[in-house]
Symmetry: C2
Subunit: 301 residues, 2 copies
Amino acid sequence: MKHYVGIDIGGTSTTIGLVSEEGIILDRLVILIEGFASGPIETFLDAIANGIRELSTKYGQPIEGVGIGAPNGNFYRGTIEYAPNMPWKDVHEVAAYLEKKNACRTVLTNDANAAAIGEKQFGVAKNFNDFILITLGTGLGSGIVSGGKMIYGHDGFAGELGHSIVVPEGRDCTCGRKGCLEAYVSIRGLLETYHDFGVGKASTPQEIAMKAQLGDEYAKETFVKTGEWLGLKLADAATYTSPEAVIFFGGIAQASDLFFPSLKETLEANVHNLYRNKIQIMKSGLPLNDAAVLGSAALVM
Amino acid sequence: MKHYVGIDIGGTSTTIGLVSEEGIILDRLVILIEGFASGPIETFLDAIANGIRELSTKYGQPIEGVGIGAPNGNFYRGTIEYAPNMPWKDVHEVAAYLEKKNACRTVLTNDANAAAIGEKQFGVAKNFNDFILITLGTGLGSGIVSGGKMIYGHDGFAGELGHSIVVPEGRDCTCGRKGCLEAYVSIRGLLETYHDFGVGKASTPQEIAMKAQLGDEYAKETFVKTGEWLGLKLADAATYTSPEAVIFFGGIAQASDLFFPSLKETLEANVHNLYRNKIQIMKSGLPLNDAAVLGSAALVM
């Protein structure tokens, strides 16, 4: 049995998982980023390298490859570039550094791409060659698979549907532009949609979802509108890569019952007839805590 | 030297070209569709099959393969499906029929995809692995190449940017929806934009271009707005496949001086900073009469 390492680098913590070729996470280590934030990124990367060695030693197994999913990860360069939620700005050659430290093939990509690869290898996208994976969290990330291959674009930055425009001249986005999908469909976006009704406060999408389940019309409407914005943009997305499925991943996706109906209705009402009734809307098939690690490991399988 | 056949099926005429592996069109035959319109499509396809044999015999050369670019052509199925500008509606198995008639490998795709492949093989896209080709004619067609491969989508219908929405609830499109890019940027779109000023009539984009060259402010503004609509949608397109170039093909593209400046300005003003100043806007490098034939031949090379 071959062993791989999948690493999920996030804004607050990083998980290092030892993964079998069948996609079973045999063990995992979690590193909190806080303790490293004031130092150079190398100290943090050394901790990751030690973690990989620890897992390898514990199981007495050589590691076939290390895959990393990271915010603003660039597949071509193995770099994390200007990640807004990480303590280290600028461009950092993460894959090359770890490859040298551990003498083991190391591949890095952005977290949404890693999730898409994980979904293809182990999740609901096993039989799909053309699909879009959307991660709903702090932001809206996306990974596009076409003809069985990840779309990276010429510079490694393809698949940023969160920054396609859904409302011209709409809400301010963190990227400095206006009306991006991410400004409407993300944790921040959902909270803003709910607060815009002026009827109460919520500090998490889970809280809004709970209110909706309890009958709060404004909370329900928040999710209905979220689905409509998604449906509108996915009607456009179909004209680019004609996917057979769009798969949603992340905490907000757990509330799919609240926004899938309006999403599907808006999508079908707005999509060109070439694509009508062809696109499946699905939830991720992987456990929330495992998907990123599995996807990252799948990168090097 | 190997010989291929490239066929450009259009709404009014079909060109059959004998193409060398270096991309030289050695000879061509043109079939006018009008004479076949009242009969079954098979009579028309038989004429194409005879044309292929005629060219092969004339040059005493076997044909290595036949490539076809056609409106609403489906690469996976080798079919022309519900082409609005052809006399034969429904679905027609064109590639299979010709393959049987000529005992020669036959591949079919839509005309914009064929143009994109031609541009990659013989035109300005030789060194690009990630680009979008846009054909401006009766409609707006597009072919998207990512990682060196054509994007077909799960059903063969990917790359229909003409039917992405540029003006929500905007102009009626021939597809039955509203606000499609094609309703603004195409022969019909340009004429409508000019006529909307209410200052005069024009029956072709060439006429508007000539007026613009002669100083007509409304004709100039027609092209400026055309560039703005394109720039807006290409800013969105970048978030899907992050292309290094967008290449324009077709009669209207000849007037690039009139709409490239506003296109570039609008694109750079609206694109996410990940993609800023990275996307080249270019004209096709192939002669208007040759590109479709060369691209179709390149399909089977």
